[in-house]
């Protein structure tokens, strides 16, 4: 039990000292009462001893009231004449009636108070630690980027050399003594030397060269194609006509394909070709449009004329018929009519739709 108390006391003083580093003033304030209490108890004992000595020196008990008065005066004088100003201060405090009362009343609960203070300090320390931790994890910091995997912690900065994870010098690869065993990923393997020699390799190569006579095919023909006259039949590769992935025919010729592969800048060939073709088509369309405009405007003009005609000349059988085919048939180009109207095309198409 005593050890526990002493431990608590030590921890208390330790915490006090830690806390005191940051809050020097407040630690002084905290330390003061404990010292006061300790010194007060010591002082009390000393005083008793001294007073007993004084009392013992007196000859009889009759003179006790006077002696008591003397003792009191001596006590006061002792307190007042004490050399230590701090103890004088303590004495003054202890002589105050409320303090004396408190000390008498709560004399045994020092440890409880200490425990409360220690708990409070502990809570403050934990809170400070948590706040400090949360300050480290500010979003957007470099540490945060590393944590999120945007930066590699081992690659940061140019001063640190790049380390290669040498697979032969990995913590997971340990070569045993005498190079006869190797431990990889926690398993131990015995190493056996390779016995293949250069001569054996050459023998195998000769065997294979006898066993496999092969010429690289230089020409690929579809099954059913005739063999060209100047081609070695051994170098022909016959591709089945329904081969899923290979084709012997190609849309693009070899030189053009080679140029396409070697092209480093600019628009790719086909894109450019398609673009040019589109351009040409567009130009042609525009030309046609102009031409159409000529025609359509003519017809448009005619269409605009038609209601007028209908209303004016209702006896014309051709113009009265609602059949569009007749309208289509009856659209010979009339360049002599007005080509300026741009909306003529649309309106004529809209009229042709139904």
């Amino acid at each position: 039990m005593a050890s526990i108390w002493s431990l608590q006391f030590h921890s208390l003083s330790f915490l006090l000292s830690i806390w005191g580093n940051k809050h020097w003033l407040s630690s002084n304030v905290v330390r003061l009462p404990t010292k006061l209490l300790l010194n007060h108890s010591q002082l009390k004992n000393n005083r008793k001893v001294q007073l007993r000595a004084i009392a013992g020196s007196s000859g009889s008990e009759v003179e006790q009231p006077t002696q008591n008065a003397v003792v009191n005066s001596v006590e006061r004088g002792l307190v007042l004449n004490s050399e230590h100003p701090f103890s004088r201060f303590q004495g003054t405090i202890s002589s105050f009636p409320p303090v004396v009362l408190m000390m008498k009343k709560y004399g045994g609960s020092n440890l409880v108070i200490g425990f409360c203070i220690a708990t409070a300090i502990l809570i403050i320390a934990v809170r400070a630690y948590v706040v400090g931790k949360s300050r480290d994890n500010i979003h957007g910091s470099v540490a945060d980027l590393v944590r999120r995997g945007h930066l590699r912690s081992d690659r940061r900065g140019i001063s640190s050399p790049l380390k290669y994870d040498d697979p032969f010098n990995n913590p997971l690869v340990k070569v045993g003594k005498g190079n006869s065993t190797v431990e990889m990923c926690g398993k131990v393997y015995r190493l056996a030397p390779v016995t293949l020699t250069r001569d054996q390799q050459a023998i195998h190569q000769k065997r294979r060269s006898r066993a496999y006579q092969w010429k690289r095919p230089t020409i690929f023909l579809k099954e059913g194609d005739s063999i060209p006259p100047d081609v070695d039949p051994d170098t022909i590769r016959w591709i089945p006509a329904n081969h899923p992935f290979a084709t012997t025919t190609s849309e693009i010729d070899e030189d053009l394909a080679q140029n396409n592969v070697y092209q480093k800048h600019g628009v790719p060939f086909r894109i450019q070709a398609e673009h040019e073709a589109l351009q040409r088509k567009l130009e042609a369309l525009q030309n046609d449009e102009k031409l159409n405009n000529l025609m359509i405007d003519g017809r448009n003009a005619k269409d605009f004329q038609r209601p007028f005609k209908l209303y004016s000349k209702s006896n014309d059988p051709v113009e009265e018929s609602p059949n569009n085919s007749k309208v289509v048939y009856s659209k010979p180009p009339r360049p002599k009519l007005d080509p300026n109207s741009s909306q003529g095309n649309l309106s004529s198409e809209e009229m042709q739709k139904p």
Partner: protein, 326 residues
């Protein structure tokens, strides 16, 4: 781990990746001296070293197998991204005309708008058809064709040669590696895919069907003039090898007589990463198969080959404190 940095930067573990002496690293990077092989203890492993690029750039590597489903596309994706992580610029070409999958494995399927067929037709330029990976900006994907389009194979092979030439001469510089994911079989697609390649990586699994196809494909590659052929043995199960239910890697090597670029153990993470569109080598923590792919990529850069293979699983020795969970 800190102490490792004080060791000479070029030492390598002898048991895992010493190269053949005949293979000469011609091109070395400026800041890294030539590797020394004298220090071969495990504690002297390097950490900050970049693998030294051997051979002329661009290294045009075709990844082929003959048989389907052995892991060509997975290998292309993982080795390609490993190379990109090591700082090399990589262009991966999916030459599987009808059945392309590399874009799915890399998680780039939504970003493929143009393919080589469009480039040939002149619908777009080559730089527009290259899809740059956002995770590693020095990795680019190029697909040959869209699923329902046909490639004119009359000049399919030539087209790939033109592509390589165009990539060589582009403004931002020639890529260090051009990886070509070859379709299965030895059909027209295979012929197209191997045309521009200088070296080949043969992916095989330790079963007889795959080995027979691999042997035939190796023969065709050699007939075509590709001499630098290395193999990756995929989907190896050490427990089955121990029980003699599966051919060991050394047995496979004895049958094919090819240098080993890597041995990839069977790993359920492969399927998971495929479904996610997130290659295995980017997994953290790395898995066993991911580590093996990284090692294979490292050897590919240095034109290296395996000198020892993991053949048997030993139970891990438990310490005194293992009883307490230590």
């Amino acid at each position: 781990m800190v102490s490792l940095q004080f060791h000479p930067a070029n030492a390598k573990p002898m048991s895992l990746c010493p190269s053949f002496q005949t293979l000469n690293p011609t091109k070395t990077l400026k800041s890294y001296p030539k590797p020394r092989r004298s220090v071969a203890i495990a504690s002297a492993l390097q950490w900050n070293r970049k693998p030294q690029l051997a051979g002329e750039t661009p290294r045009v590597v075709v990844i082929t197998s003959g048989k389907g489903g052995v892991g060509k596309t997975t290998t292309t994706a993982n080795v390609g991204l490993s190379l990109a992580r090591l700082g090399f610029s990589v262009v991966a070409i999916d030459a599987d005309v009808g059945l392309r999958n590399l874009d799915l494995l890399l998680g780039l399927e939504n970003r493929v708008n143009y393919t080589v067929v469009e480039v040939l037709n002149g619908d777009c330029r080559l730089d527009q058809a290259l899809v740059r990976d956002k995770r590693w900006s020095n990795f680019e994907l190029l697909c040959i064709s869209k699923p329902r389009s046909k490639l004119p194979i009359g000049f399919g092979g030539k087209a790939l040669v033109w592509l390589v030439d165009a990539l060589k001469s582009r403004e931002e510089g020639s890529p260090d590696f051009i990886l070509i994911d070859c379709p299965a079989g030895i059909d027209a697609g295979f012929i197209t895919a191997i045309t521009p390649a200088n070296e080949a990586v043969l992916v095989t699994t330790p079963d007889i069907t795959s080995l027979r196809d691999a042997d035939r494909v190796t023969g065709l590659l050699e007939c075509d003039g590709i001499r630098d052929i290395k193999m990756i043995v995929n989907r190896v199960r050490t427990d089955m090898i121990k029980g003699e239910d599966m051919m060991s890697v050394l047995d496979v090597q004895e049958m094919l007589g090819l240098a080993l670029l890597g041995v990839i153990p069977e790993d359920s993470e492969v399927i998971r990463s495929t479904n996610r569109g997130y290659p295995l080598v980017l997994n953290k923590p790395p898995t066993l198969a991911g580590l093996a792919f990284e090692q294979a990529a490292w050897r590919l850069v240095e034109q290296d080959s395996m000198q020892a293979v993991m053949v048997e699983e030993e139970p891990k020795k438990r310490g005194f404190f293992s009883f307490f969970g230590g």
